[in-house]
Symmetry: C2
Subunit: 190 residues, 2 copies
């Protein structure tokens, strides 16, 4: 029995047993407690996080001092700041555990040596990044074309269980409206 990341990789590329062995030897699960951060604004991001169980989020603090969630990462998602990671520049984001979460933290140096040893992994990370970019484009489309109420109902239809899982105010900011307005949408007062 091997770890969840290996299973995820195998959905995209075949791995032989020696490659699995290399991966297993380098990857370990760590637990991030609810509300703990793995990245703070201003830090350089040197790690990619694969969510095994639980939920992480990437957020900012806006000029009014309110948190706004840009991205959630649940089971089988990667979360990181790719811009800070690639350019070695200070991050604009916080990355935090929404609930106590198990992740595989993959440091840049470890990832780079894995990519050298198992070049096939490049394909895996390419596909993951291209799909994530595609999802980001759809997200922008929804933000552009739907009203706040439509965005709420749409999300609620697509991910009914997830809505139960995170605080309302985090989801409101992810959908780009205020927590108060979300409360009114749910009460049917709009």
């Amino acid at each position: 029995m091997h770890n969840e990341l290996v299973s995820h990789i195998k959905k995209f590329i075949p791995l032989d047993s020696s490659e699995v062995a290399i991966l297993e030897s380098r990857l370990s699960i760590s637990t991030i407690k609810r509300k703990d951060h793995v990245l703070q604004e201003g830090q350089i991001c040197n790690t990619m996080y694969f969510v095994v169980k639980g939920c992480m989020r990437q957020y900012i603090i806006n000029p009014k001092g309110t948190e706004q969630t840009l991205q959630f990462g649940v089971e089988n998602w990667w979360i990181t700041d790719y811009l800070s990671y690639h350019n070695q520049t200070p991050s604009h984001f916080y990355i935090q555990a929404v609930e106590t979460t198990e992740v595989i933290a993959l440091e840049k140096s470890v990832l780079e040596s894995l990519l050298d040893e198992i070049p096939k992994l490049e394909k895996y990370f390419r596909i993951v990044a291209q799909k994530a970019f595609g999802a980001a484009q759809m997200r922008i489309k929804f933000l552009f074309t739907m009203s706040a109420e439509e965005r709420y109902h749409h999300f609620n239809n697509q991910q009914p269980d997830f809505v139960q899982r995170v605080p309302q105010y985090m989801l409101a900011s992810y959908l780009d409206f205020s927590a108060e307005f979300m409360s009114k949408i749910r009460a049917g007062k709009v």
Copy 2:
């Protein structure tokens, strides 16, 4: 002297002369006339476009019938619908030349055989996709935290020449406000 895409790839990974030769034999430049489309909503996207010279854009038509630009692609950018491309599902987007544009159109079947022959290219496309995703995250951050006027001035500071290059109404929709409002911002009437 070889093509612009080969030069771009060499910024990220080394290529030997036989690899360059393979690439050159498979890649050719085509010209897309101003306002012509390379992808329409509902079509399956089977091609990635690398912009050699000119400007492409990805847009949608919103429920009110207005075009909204999600993405511009200028020199050395890739533009495609990765979600349609990977899942072979109908695209939600239009991709069009803003000005007459030279592109390298890379079809899925050609790209896949290139990736088999030159596996190093996986790294190039991985890095390109990760950077594009990072840029999309920053874009969402700006949309979330800045007022319309701030978004305009910020963009204008970052890309002063680009603002001259595209019709105002396209840029307005990209920045997520109306063309009329942009006109007022520019006139200082807000």
